[in-house]
Symmetry: C2
DNA sequence: AAAGATTGACCCGTCAATCTTA
DNA sequence: TAAGATTGACGGGTCAATCTTT
């Protein structure tokens, strides 16, 4: 395999240097034909060793968290987590209704995705569509009684999943640090003010 | 909807009390028919205010990160991030080959998912299947030259995406804290030793 | 022309069989 | 009987039209 990182040598893992290790993670080096010239060359052009390590851990955590959330939500609620978010949002909105575009913005979905989802939720009877009056282009998603009932039923189970999986293991400092980390990363994205803004409204 | 958090009391958000706010996030309270009795009731049975806040931030960050990774990987590499992981893993394995079950374990996929993915990767010519010799049940996935070339091409772009999106905004302490957080959450799951073990091998 | 929203085609992933070998 | 692996059906999401209203 090529030797990637530039200098045949690299940081210590990977042969493929190239930065493939970036995500390739988990495996020790295979090949043994590293060019001799290298010793302790560091700083990849790409990610530092520590960054790679953190990235790998993040991916693993994310995978675990996601599987757990989706599995539990499917079992307890009979729906994907994304649908739960939609119901939850509607439940807290005035009159339990929200325009599609606003709803999409809040949950962070594309309009297309939301439209498909609401179609499905309508079929199951948890959401209903209504025509907007002011702007005839608008459609309004309304949470039905059945939808609200379902939500009320599922919410505590979901909370338990989240709490036990993500929060129970963390101590106070880690919790605070986690928030600061997420916020920092989000703030670096100019296109994410919506998320931060909406959240802050509530705080 | 009721006044939200309970208390009109509660902790600050939510009406539906029910814990819906758990994830419903982002929105102020709508309705107003809450039972008057409440004052400063705190500690939800579910999540504390801080935990809810962190959970929301995490979801928003995750969404942003994922979109960016998948979009870039699709544009630069013409494949989903999951496929990149497979190629990357193979590239670092001895002889660029790995048994399906082992590969699945490493990248954290179900056997079914991996099988579908490899089928696709085989169609594109980046991976090839081989029969295992020892155990005739086994199948071995091999990275082709074309696959390796593709990987080498894409890797630095991917690294750039990850670095700029996740790591550039973080300082040293945050980076360290992030790692500790991910590790802590993973360690709490007894079924995740595989991830941690494999990672540690490399460190 | 742009915003709000929907639709259909297509890809990815899950789940429940199924098949082969150990 | 169990492990390794595959398959097909199905649901969810993205993308590129499309349609209507502003």
């Amino acid at each position: 395999v090529v030797d990637g990182d530039g200098d045949g040598c690299g940081t210590g893992h990977g042969d493929a240097g190239i930065g493939i290790e970036l995500v390739s993670e988990f495996l020790p080096d295979p090949q043994g034909d590293l060019p001799p010239g290298c010793d302790t060359a560091l700083d990849d052009p790409w990610l530092t060793d520590q960054q790679q390590q953190v990235w790998r851990r993040y991916l693993a955590m994310w995978r675990m968290l996601n599987e757990r959330i989706e599995r539990d939500m499917q079992q307890d609620g009979g729906m994907p987590h994304a649908y739960y978010l939609i119901l939850a949002m509607l439940s807290e909105s005035p009159d339990r209704r929200l325009r599609m575009n606003r709803l999409a913005e809040i949950v962070g979905f594309s309009q297309s995705r939301l439209s498909h989802a609401v179609t499905r939720l309508e079929q199951v009877g948890w959401v209903q569509r209504e025509q907007a009056v002011a702007d005839k282009r608008g459609q309004i998603a309304v949470l039905t009684e059945a939808g609200h009932a379902r939500l009320v039923e599922v919410a505590p189970l979901h909370a338990e999943t989240v709490r036990s999986t993500m929060f129970d293991p963390l101590d106070e400092q880690q919790l605070a640090a986690f928030e600061s980390i997420c916020t920092t990363i989000l703030q670096a994205r100019p296109d994410c003010e919506a998320q931060l803004r909406d959240i802050d409204l509530q705080v």
